[in-house]
C-alpha cells in the first residue's frame, strides 16, 4: 500500500463502490455546515420562543422546534462544527501521539516497547467508554477534557497499529538495505518506514473518526462535557428524549439522524479509502 496505489485504484474503487461517492457528498455537506454553520442556519440556535414550543416540522421550522421553542434545524447545523471538531481533534491527537509511541516501540523494541505496551494494555484493560467517563469526571467537565478523554481511549488502536506495521517492516529487505546504505536508525524510521505506514494509518484514522464521534456524543448524552444551551447533537438527543412518551419525535430524531449521517459518512469513507489503497483487503 502506497500513495502511488491510491491514484491507481481510485477509478476502480469509485466505480465499484458508488457508496464511497455518496460518502464524499455527505462529507462535503458536513464540512460546509461545520465551516459556515452559523451563517447557514435560518435562526439563531440559542433564540428561545415561548410561543412556538415543540412545534412539529413545518415550512417555517423544517425540523420543528424544541421545548424552549428553538429551531432544531439551526441547532443541528450549528452543532456540526462542535461535534466534528471534538472528534477530529481527538483523532488527530491520537494519530500523532500513537504514531510516535507506536513506531518508537516497534522499531526500538526492548524497554521502550515494554513500557509503551504496558501503558496501552492498561488503557485497554478498561471498558473504553467507562474510562472516558472516569477521565472526564476526574479532569473536569468541559469540552477540552472530552477531547482528551476521546484521544486517550483511541490511542491504543493507533499505537498498536503503528507498532505492528513498523515492527513488520523493520526487518524487511528495504529497511535493512537502507541501513546498508548508511541511514541511521532514526532516518530509516523517518524516511523509509513511516512514509509507508501512513496510508494504512490514515485508513485506520478514517474508520476511527466515526467511533470518536459516537464517543464524544455519548459523553454529552449523559451530561458530560458540553453544557446546555450549547447546541450539540448528543445533548439535543438527550433533551428530546423526554418528549418521546408524548409523541414529539422530532426533538430527538433530527439531531440523532445528524449523528448517524456523520458516523455513516466516515465509516464509508474509511472503507472506500481502504479499497483504494489495497483492493485485495476488501472485506
Amino acid at each position: 500500500m502506497t500513495f502511488a496505489n491510491l491514484t491507481r485504484n481510485a477509478g476502480h474503487a469509485f466505480g465499484e463502490n458508488p457508496l464511497t461517492l455518496v460518502a464524499v457528498g455527505i462529507l462535503l455537506l458536513l464540512l460546509t455546515c461545520a465551516l459556515l454553520g452559523p451563517s447557514l442556519a435560518p435562526y439563531d440556535p440559542l433564540m428561545t420562543d415561548a410561543t412556538a414550543k415543540l412545534v412539529p416540522p413545518s415550512m417555517a421550522h423544517p425540523f420543528g422546534t424544541d421545548a424552549l421553542g428553538r429551531d432544531i434545524l439551526s441547532r443541528v447545523i450549528v452543532a456540526t462544527r462542535l461535534d466534528l471538531g471534538m472528534a477530529f481533534s481527538a483523532v488527530i491527537l491520537s494519530f500523532v501521539v500513537g504514531l510516535a509511541l507506536g513506531s518508537a516501540a516497534g522499531y526500538l523494541g526492548g524497554w521502550t516497547d515494554r513500557i509503551v505496551g504496558r501503558l496501552m494494555d492498561t488503557i485497554m484493560a478498561f471498558p473504553l467508554f467507562v474510562l472516558a467517563m472516569g477521565i472526564v469526571a476526574a479532569l473536569g467537565n468541559n469540552v477540552a477534557n472530552i477531547i482528551i478523554a476521546t484521544m486517550i481511549i483511541n490511542l491504543p488502536f493507533y499505537c498498536r497499529f503503528a507498532r505492528a506495521e513498523v515492527n513488520m517492516r523493520r526487518d524487511l529487505g528495504y529497511a535493512e538495505a537502507a541501513r546498508m546504505g548508511g541511514n541511521r536508525t532514526l532516518t530509516v524510521l523517518a524516511v523509509h518506514i513511516i512514509p509507508n505506514i501512513l496510508p494504512p494509518m490514515m485508513v485506520q484514522a478514517s474508520l476511527n473518526m466515526g467511533w470518536a464521534i459516537l464517543n464524544a456524543a455519548g459523553l454529552s448524552f449523559i451530561g458530560l462535557g458540553v453544557r446546555p444551551p450549547t447546541p450539540e447533537w448528543g445533548i439535543m438527543v438527550s433533551e428530546g428524549a423526554s418528549f418521546i412518551v408524548s409523541g414529539e419525535w422530532w426533538a430527538f430524531v433530527f439531531p440523532g439522524a445528524a449523528l448517524v449521517l456523520a458516523v455513516f459518512c466516515f465509516n464509508l469513507l474509511g472503507d472506500g479509502l481502504r479499497d483504494l489503497l489495497d483492493p485485495r483487503k476488501r472485506v
Binding site: 467508554f129 467517563m133 440523532g256
Partner: protein
C-alpha cells in the same frame, strides 16, 4: 491447566495498571480531590477536614498504599448521593447490568455469527449484500439513539413494549426474592412465570439496542475470518480430499475462524460495558451504569472511582475467560502460553 495459571499470572500487570490508573485519576490530577470527595456544598473547613481524614495531605506513594490497603479490605469509600458504602451500592446494582449485558451479548452473538458465516459463504450474493447493509447501518447508529427510536416505535407508536421505566413495572409486579439478582433467573427460581415474562418484556428493547451496536464488529470479523479460512490452503486440501461440504465449512473453516472472532470478543465486551451506561440512562434501568452517571453529575467521586474500578475488573475477567476458551480452540496458544 498450566496455561490457565500462566494466563492468570499475566493478568496481574493489567490489574496493577488498572489500580494505579484509577488511583491517579482521583489523586494525581489537577484540582482538589478533597473538594470532590466533600461534595459541591462543602466549605473550606470541612474540605480540610476531609483532606486529613482521607490522608490527602500525605505523600502520594503513602496515599497509594492506603488506597490499596482499603481496596483489599473491600473499602471503596462512601457514596455521597446514597450515603451507603460504594461497594454495597455496586453489588446491589451489578446484577441488573450484568443481566442486561448478557441478554444483549447472546442476541448479538446469535445474530452476528450466523450472519457473518452466511455472508462469507454467499460472497457477493444478495445475502452478503444484505449483511453488509445491516452491518454498516448498525455501526453508524449510536446505542442511545437506537434505544430511543425503538422506544418511540415499539412503545409509543405500536404499544407492543412495556413502558421503558426500569426492570419491572413495580406497580403491577413485585420483584422476585433475590438469589442472583437477575430478575429473569430469580423469577424462574421462584417459579413465577408471570414475573419472568414481565421482566423479560422489559429486557427486550434495551437488550436489542445494546446488542445491535455490538453486532456490527462481530458480524464483520466473522465474515472476514470465514473468508480468510475459506480461502486458506487447508480448506483447499479438505476440498481436494473430497470431504463433505458441511465438514469443510464447520470442522475446517469455522473452527479456524473462531480464534479471530474470540479476539474481537474482548472489544465487544468493552463496547457492551461502555454502552450499558447509555442504555441504562435511556431505559431507566437501575444498574451500575445509571448509578455511575448520577454519581458523575453529582461529583460523587468515590462512587465513580469504584464504578470504573469494578468495570475494569469485570472486563479483565471476561477477557480472561475468552482467552481460556481460545486455548481450547487453538492448540498453538496452549504451547506458546
Amino acid at each position: 491447566m498450566n496455561f490457565v495459571w500462566k494466563r492468570l499470572l499475566a493478568t496481574l500487570p493489567s490489574l496493577a495498571g488498572v489500580v494505579v490508573l484509577t488511583f491517579l485519576l482521583s489523586h494525581a490530577l489537577p484540582g482538589d480531590p478533597a473538594a470532590y470527595f466533600a461534595g459541591p456544598a462543602a466549605d473550606a473547613n470541612s474540605i480540610a477536614e476531609i483532606r486529613e481524614k482521607l490522608g490527602l495531605d500525605r505523600p502520594l506513594v503513602e496515599q497509594f498504599f492506603y488506597y490499596v490497603a482499603d481496596l483489599l479490605r473491600g473499602n471503596l469509600g462512601k457514596s455521597l448521593t446514597t450515603g451507603q458504602p460504594v461497594l454495597t451500592d455496586l453489588v446491589d446494582r451489578l446484577p441488573a447490568s450484568l443481566e442486561l449485558s448478557a441478554y444483549a451479548l447472546v442476541f448479538a452473538i446469535g445474530c452476528a455469527i450466523p450472519m457473518g458465516v452466511l455472508a462469507a459463504i454467499r460472497l457477493d450474493r444478495p445475502a452478503d449484500h444484505a449483511c453488509r447493509v445491516i452491518v454498516t447501518v448498525c455501526a453508524a447508529f449510536p446505542t442511545f439513539f437506537i434505544g430511543l427510536l425503538l422506544v418511540y416505535v415499539f412503545y409509543f407508536l405500536l404499544g407492543w413494549a412495556p413502558e421503558p421505566l426500569g426492570r419491572l413495572n413495580e406497580i403491577l409486579y413485585t420483584a422476585p426474592p433475590r438469589v442472583t439478582g437477575a430478575y429473569t433467573i430469580d423469577a424462574l427460581i421462584a417459579g413465577d412465570g408471570e414475573v419472568f415474562r414481565a421482566a423479560l418484556a422489559q429486557l427486550v428493547l434495551p437488550a436489542i439496542s445494546l446488542g445491535l451496536f455490538a453486532l456490527a464488529p462481530l458480524a464483520r470479523i466473522t465474515r472476514a475470518a470465514m473468508l480468510e479460512s475459506l480461502s486458506s490452503d487447508f480448506v483447499r486440501t479438505a476440498h481436494a480430499s473430497g470431504l463433505p461440504t458441511s465438514k469443510v465449512l464447520f470442522t475446517y473453516a469455522f473452527r479456524n475462524s473462531l480464534l479471530p472472532i474470540s479476539s474481537v470478543l474482548g472489544m465487544v465486551f468493552s463496547f457492551l460495558l461502555g454502552s450499558n451506561v447509555l442504555i441504562e440512562q435511556v431505559f431507566g434501568w437501575q444498574g451500575v451504569g445509571a448509578y455511575a452517571v448520577s454519581a458523575v453529575l453529582a461529583s460523587d467521586y468515590a462512587a465513580v472511582q469504584g464504578f470504573v474500578l469494578m468495570m475494569a475488573l469485570l472486563y479483565i475477567l471476561l477477557n480472561l475467560l475468552v482467552d481460556v476458551l481460545a486455548t481450547l480452540i487453538d492448540p498453538r496458544v496452549r504451547f506458546e502460553g
